[in-house]
Amino acid sequence: MNDILKGELVRLSAIDPEEMSGALARWRRDSEFNRLLNMGVIHLDSAKAIRQWIEKDMENEGSREYFFAMRSLADDQLIGGLGLDVVAWAFRDAFVAIFIGEREYWGKGYGTDAMNVLLEYAFLELNLRRVSLGVFEYNPRAVRSYEKVGFRNEGRQRSFLNREGRRWSMFLMGILRNEWMEQNHKPVKSQ
């Protein structure tokens, strides 16, 4: 029974609403960060408003959402967040969301490491069968990271986003439990 929430560069920890809301309020002022993450209209919300929304989410979380703070192992800094939304328990499928708010941690493998930690949690703790994600066409760094982890392209919704005066697709990717287990040299048990 390994340390399931720890990777090589990051660890997953509980979200502290005070800390996370302050960080998100700051990160969201970077509109590039915002547009990579969100499909909806980007807002600049106060830390207080974000905190209330986080706390309400945590109340409703219960059985559907499993969200974590992302912290660097080196200095325990809060660098982002990630989590699973189990859209259908009966189908054992969840959508993953991940973001790194601190720019200096972009492109250095932190996202890939965090995703692997989360997938281990998804497959070995939540017993999910597959994990899905949506990623915007204009986010090639994320697409590469997800491919490295083992996600496969499952299609794209054309002209899904309207930003900066042009249309962009949203790519859909998915990874099956068996695929990830094999790639990570875990014993593959038949389900």
Binding site: S63, R64, V86, W89, A90, F91, R92, E125, L126, N127, L128
Partner: protein
């Protein structure tokens, strides 16, 4: 894609509370029924309380509970209840509970049929891996029914109940999806 809620003798439904409460009020007076179905002391509740409790039981708000009423196919009579309780959504097991309140329908295969319907629901709609149940050792009719539906004995907790001054055991049974599939294929179900 077959008719999931229909068996050969019964079908599973969801009913308006005022329809259910009328039956529940009658059934709660039958202490033999109560002692077969439950472990707690027999009580008599007001109609108001029963309705409140039924609202909660039959609502679809709780993702861990799937409760149904049982109606006969022949004459659409409301005869009992059956339900699944999932202790963990990420787990693979559920507890099933059944009660046939209308005595006239005991020992005639209605319970077994309802159990088969709910097992099919558990394995092909909720995609569970196994279904569990517990029963009083003195409920021999139920034991035979559950065996017919495919459940196997998994053990007993000794003398954890006292009824009419006598200590009795609680029996535990379970059925795995693979066992259910095999029985299904063989035509046993």
């Amino acid at each position: 894609m077959n008719d999931l809620f229909r068996g050969e003798l019964v079908r599973l439904t969801n009913e308006n509370i005022d329809v259910l409460s009328e039956s529940e009020i009658r059934w709660q007076r039958d202490t033999e029924f109560h002692r077969l179905a439950d472990g707690d002391p027999a009580e008599l509740h007001s109609e108001k309380k029963i309705k409140e409790w039924l609202e909660k039981r039959m609502s679809d708000d709780n993702p861990n509970r799937f409760n149904f009423s049982i109606r006969t196919l022949a004459d659409d009579r409301l005869i009992g209840f059956i339900g699944l309780y999932l202790p963990f959504l990420h787990g693979c097991d559920a507890w099933v509970g059944i009660g046939i309140g209308e005595r006239h329908y005991w020992g005639k295969g209605y319970g077994t049929d309802a159990m088969r319907v709910i097992l099919r629901y558990a394995f092909t709609e909720l995609n569970l891996h196994r279904v569990s149940l517990a029963l009083h050792e003195y409920n021999t009719r139920a034991f035979r029914s559950y065996e017919k539906a495919g459940f196997r004995s998994e053990g007993r907790v000794k003398q954890d109940q006292i009824r009419e001054g006598k200590r009795t055991d609680t029996l535990f049974m379970g059925i795995l999806r693979s066992e259910w599939k095999d029985a299904f294929v063989e035509g046993a179900l």
